[in-house]
């Protein structure tokens, strides 16, 4: 099977055909490109315009609200002063250590027969305590009371630092270091 060229058109006509095709194709492509660019241009342009419009509207609102705020400047100053003072007071309340609670809590731990002669703070969260007790067992009881688990857990640890027997009346002198949780004494 052999193929034969049966196109009988002249060379000029063939060229004309190619030329027509080329013009048609380029026209279609360029129109399509124009439509595409036109659509994109419309989209971005309208979007930009909408944004500008929104910004203008917000500006009008902001100007109006600023005017309203400026009319109430006296109230604003008063509110700011109140807030500044209130914030400072709130901070003081939050950081205040309620020593009355500490003392009451401590007092509840002292067994009958034990007296406290001195109570001094050492550092931020320790107390030096010294006193007398009728016997060793009461000192031990006092220590147990201070170390017992309670809610709130004010005293975190209690250590006996010295204990001396008074031979004359069989009483005991003791010294204890008690650690306490500062946070448990705040915000009461």
């Amino acid at each position: 099977m052999s193929s034969y060229d049966i196109n009988l058109l002249t060379r000029e006509e063939k060229q004309e055909q190619v030329k027509t095709k080329l013009v048609k194709l380029s026209s279609v492509l360029s129109v399509f490109l124009l439509i595409l660019v036109g659509c994109l241009s419309f989209y971005y342009f309208s979007k930009a315009q909408n944004l500008k419009k929104s910004i203008k509207e917000e500006d009008i609102k902001i100007t109006s609200m600023r005017n309203s705020i400026q009319e109430m400047s006296d109230v604003e100053v008063s509110a700011r002063n109140l807030f500044q003072r209130y914030t400072a007071i709130e901070g003081i309340f939050a950081e205040r250590i309620y020593y009355s609670f500490l003392l009451e809590h401590f007092n509840s731990k002292i067994p009958i027969g034990v007296t406290v002669n001195s109570f001094n703070f050492r550092g931020q969260s320790e107390i030096d305590i010294s006193g007398d007790a009728e016997n060793y067992l009461l000192v031990s009881q006092f220590l147990r009371n201070l170390n017992e688990v309670a809610d709130p857990q004010v005293f975190t640890s209690a250590d006996l630092t010295s204990v001396t027997l008074n031979a004359s009346d069989r009483s005991v002198k003791y010294a204890i270091v008690v650690s306490f949780d500062v946070e448990s004494l705040k915000g009461r």
Partner: protein, 322 residues
Amino acid sequence: MEDLLPQESQESTEIPVEDLNSSSNLALGDKTSRKIKMPNVSFIPKEKILGILINFLVPLLCLIGCGIAFFVFLYPAYQEIPSLESTLSTKTALSSQLNRKVSVLKELVDFSSQVEAYVQVTEKALISEPKVPELLAQIDNMSRESGMDVFSLNYSQSTSGDAPGMRFVDVALASSGSFESLVLFLKSVENASRLVVLKDFRYSYSDREGTRLVSASFQLQSPYLLVSSTAVTDEPIELSISSPEFLSDMEKILNLRQYGIGESSAVPSAPVSLPESASQSPLISVPETVPNPDLPSELPPMTPTEISPDLEPVPVSQENPL
């Protein structure tokens, strides 16, 4: 495509090389006249160009249109949009912030009487000036009312606090009494209408006239704060007078007790009553007349100032021992 070119372009013009480079030829001694074929591109007929333009008129017009659309609309808009979006979001945020501020201010205006009462109460709790004599009188009153005898009372101006503008007056107190009176005094300090903070204390027992007494020394601090705010339109107001935290703190402040000069016994400050219907007003109702005792120009004489031999002097220094 050769046919699309003008016929004349295929023709050539013969130019004698002699004319072009006669000096080089002379140098070489070559007198031969050689001909070079040069394409003639100077004459393209206008009809052909016009024909091409007419044939490709639509694509050309479209491309011109594309160019105009791109450079006039698309590209500038595309470039502008991010900055516009950013501006809009900033403006929207500012607008909503101002809107909130306006509503807060309107609320404050609506409850201006209560706000005024809150201002007075907070100014009483955290005063603007040191007012040392009044403070000493307050501490003396608290001590006596608790059942403690004052031995010494000293003060010094102290360092500034954490909050901007806040300063402290340091007071050292030495007193004696029962253990119960000591606890009562500490509670008085914690509940005084002018804020007093206990920084340190110590106590020891001593026998006096057959009774066992607590001799205690305290280091107290009373803060004072000078506030001078200005109206800044675009800055928000963080105060919310209807928030539970604010109301709770205000109630706490309102419940503090006054220990003013000349008050033999401290009385609770303005009674606090919550509104009948909390839903109608979120604010604590304060009586119109908040007690504001007028302070006498002169202080009553300070009684006992002798220092107990059992007590260690309380150092009042700039540094906080705790």
